[in-house]
Symmetry: C2
């Protein structure tokens, strides 16, 4: 592998600017075409690879899928993607046959402007469900955007802005790393701060890399990275119809083809894992109305699945999340959420830490003073650890607190 | 069966006052013993049957159970219960060995004051988790309450007040009905407005009847009634450690013993079903911070289980519940919650009604105007019906909206 390594023996990776266009051979442009009602914010973005790509993607498992998801599932199977068109402000979901026609028309218009076939255009949509897509706006939006395609840092930052809905900050990352003496780059941007639930969420995530990597290796790497990042965050347990994570690899870096099982593959996966986890945590930190991030760690589980169930139940409990919002160490709610999660557990074996403090020890409260505990619950990042005392498996979820602001945002989003 | 019948052929049942002591041969007393911090509200209640009872009960399925639940599970198996002691303000859960000793001491003190064996005393607790029960307060509370036991209407109403925690109104019912030419009574009281989830909730429900009924019939009738009432309501999907529904039947009405499969059994079940559903709906209507009740009806499901899953997912979605709080007909959230519920469904076969209006028809929006829809979402009782178009099975859940008030209540409950 060569080059400097971190404490785990992985090659050092360096954070760089530019998001999705930090990787060589990618350009983007984004504009306001009228889908967002403020009349100003960017709501349409195009991302182009100047050369052919290998691609991999994961989509919502919701039985109700947006027209964009249905379209793009086919494009990933064909593995001949050159461009991505994303719109924010309208999900084009629950829109029936008309929605499918609108998606196809979007791809056709973009393809003709870019000199591609429609089947080379990947689509993603996010926003209100059940309202027909104003496809004429998208059409003139595309005509305005395509001539402005650029690989500059500002264009990359604008991409992350264009895909936002109720997000309050753009979310992008890019990392440079070495593989076989070549410098490679991996960049990404994500959106999604509500309707966030395990197994993806109302989230869109676009990743690019200039690495040369086989489709099989890319697909495996993406699945593993998503499982440990986007599938471990939750804002409100509501899974969307539009969730999409996609990665395009265009080989512009000129490295030797990365295959599964090689040292370069390990380096690539390490970088992709860090990128996905960074983006996932940005989503939670920006969760609708969130004031604190909560890390729920479950250890000592009999099976990995038990750890997952217990961590997810705690992370999804509105009672736990409201208590954290109040800075209140109401730890009984944490234990009782684990108790109903379906995880194998016995109260007499379980322990709970809030921050550094043990509050519940094998069935009994430790008598830890409330004021000490409150200090840990009032931090920007709150850490709960439950040790089930049943085995050696563990898992971690990230979530945010539940605030009045979450209710405000979601009571009024539609109108 | 005799006597006047309703339109389904069931004997008429008459609503009466008195709650748990409307049934002959029951007495109650309740006082403030210092568990509720306001220094005034009743927080301890005793309910006594003057004669032996048949009993049946259902408890939380949470793996973490209160000391009261552990104690009372044994008492129901022995089927020799004469008295119930309930306290509100402290759950006596996650309190370890000390919690069990405190529960036993409560039963011992009550038994000695009532001239019973400790094993004849059923216990229930509700309130904060993880704080040792102030058992001395309970002890002098019992000494003050027992001499005041009464069968009067006011005592019955006070019982419903004493079991409240964050409830804003007391919840009790009583019904008189005829069986084999005898007049029978069934009464009940319930509490619970947060931590309410299917398969019971932070809820306590106490039912009494002066019917003579076999233990087997009583147990069957209770399970069936709970399944269709308390197990079909949800406030926040968080299941508590203390949930308890118990019924005592003391035979004071002198009717012929009711056995399963008889006309009298059908009448008894009908009355019990109505009592449980009435109490369950009162809980939802008083849900923490609730401003509207929501009925989620799913029809046309392939299997009953699919209907249950879809109805539950919609009823538990914070996004759906926040939209209803805003009086906002954001129906895409309803369809997408059904979509991720795990129920067998195809978007192209599904229909959705809000109130009387069809908004989504076999895959497409009907174009129903938002202002007409909003009128139905702004009613005190909102009705959603999803027809999955897959089969003939159905199910219904009741829930409430999610308000800023819910967050306030739960951010500050502990401290």
């Amino acid at each position: 592998m060569g080059g400097p390594a971190d404490e785990n023996g992985y090659p050092m990776i360096e954070s760089v600017k530019g998001g999705v266009v930090a990787s060589a051979g990618f350009r983007t442009a984004s504009i306001h075409c009228g889908l967002k009602s403020d009349g100003a914010s960017r709501d349409l973005a195009v991302l182009l690879s100047d050369r052919p790509t290998q691609s991999a993607a994961m989509f919502t498992t919701n039985r109700v899928k947006s027209a964009a998801v249905r379209w793009s599932e086919k494009r990933v199977r064909e593995n001949n993607i050159r461009a991505i068109v994303v719109n924010a402000g309208n999900a084009n979901a629950c829109t029936g046959k008309r929605g499918e026609e609108d998606a196809e028309r979007t791809a056709r218009v973009a393809a003709s402007l870019l000199g591609l076939a429609p089947s080379q255009v990947f689509l993603a949509s996010t926003g209100i469900i059940g309202v027909p897509l104003p496809v004429e706006k998208i059409e003139y939006g595309l005509r305005s955007a395509v001539p402005r395609l650029s690989g500059g840092i500002e264009a990359g930052e604008a991409f992350a802005l264009a895909i936002m809905t109720t997000d309050t900050v753009p979310k992008s990352v890019a990392f440079r790393f070495q593989a076989s003496r070549k410098q490679l780059t991996l960049g990404g941007a994500t959106k999604g701060v509500g309707m966030i639930a395990p197994n993806m969420a109302t989230m869109l995530c676009f990743l690019t890399t200039d690495a040369s990597i086989s489709q099989a290796a890319l697909d495996r790497a993406l699945r593993d990275a998503v499982e440990q990042s986007f599938n471990r965050v939750t804002v409100d347990g509501h899974m969307s119809t539009n969730d999409t994570v996609v990665i395009l690899a265009n080989g512009a870096a000129g490295n030797e083809l990365i295959e599964e099982g090689t040292p370069d593959y390990a380096t690539f996966c390490h970088t992709l894992d860090i990128a996905c986890l960074s983006l996932a945590k940005m989503m939670v930190r920006d969760g609708e109305g969130a004031t604190r991030m909560i890390r729920v760690e479950v250890t000592g589980a009999l099976a990995r699945e038990d750890a997952t169930k217990a961590a997810r139940a705690v992370a999804n409990s509105p009672l736990v999340k409201a208590a954290v919002n109040g800075g209140d160490p109401n730890w009984g709610r944490i234990i009782s959420a684990a108790g109903y999660s379906g995880a194998e557990m016995e109260e007499e074996r379980a322990k709970l830490w809030i921050g550094d403090l043990l509050v519940f020890d094998t069935g009994s409260p430790t008598g830890c003073p409330k004021v000490e505990l409150a200090a840990f619950v009032q931090k920007p990042e709150v850490h709960f650890r439950i040790d089930l005392g049943m085995g050696a498996e563990s898992d971690t979820y990230w979530t945010c607190d539940l605030s009045k602001e979450y209710v405000s945002i979601n009571a009024d989003y539609h109108t």
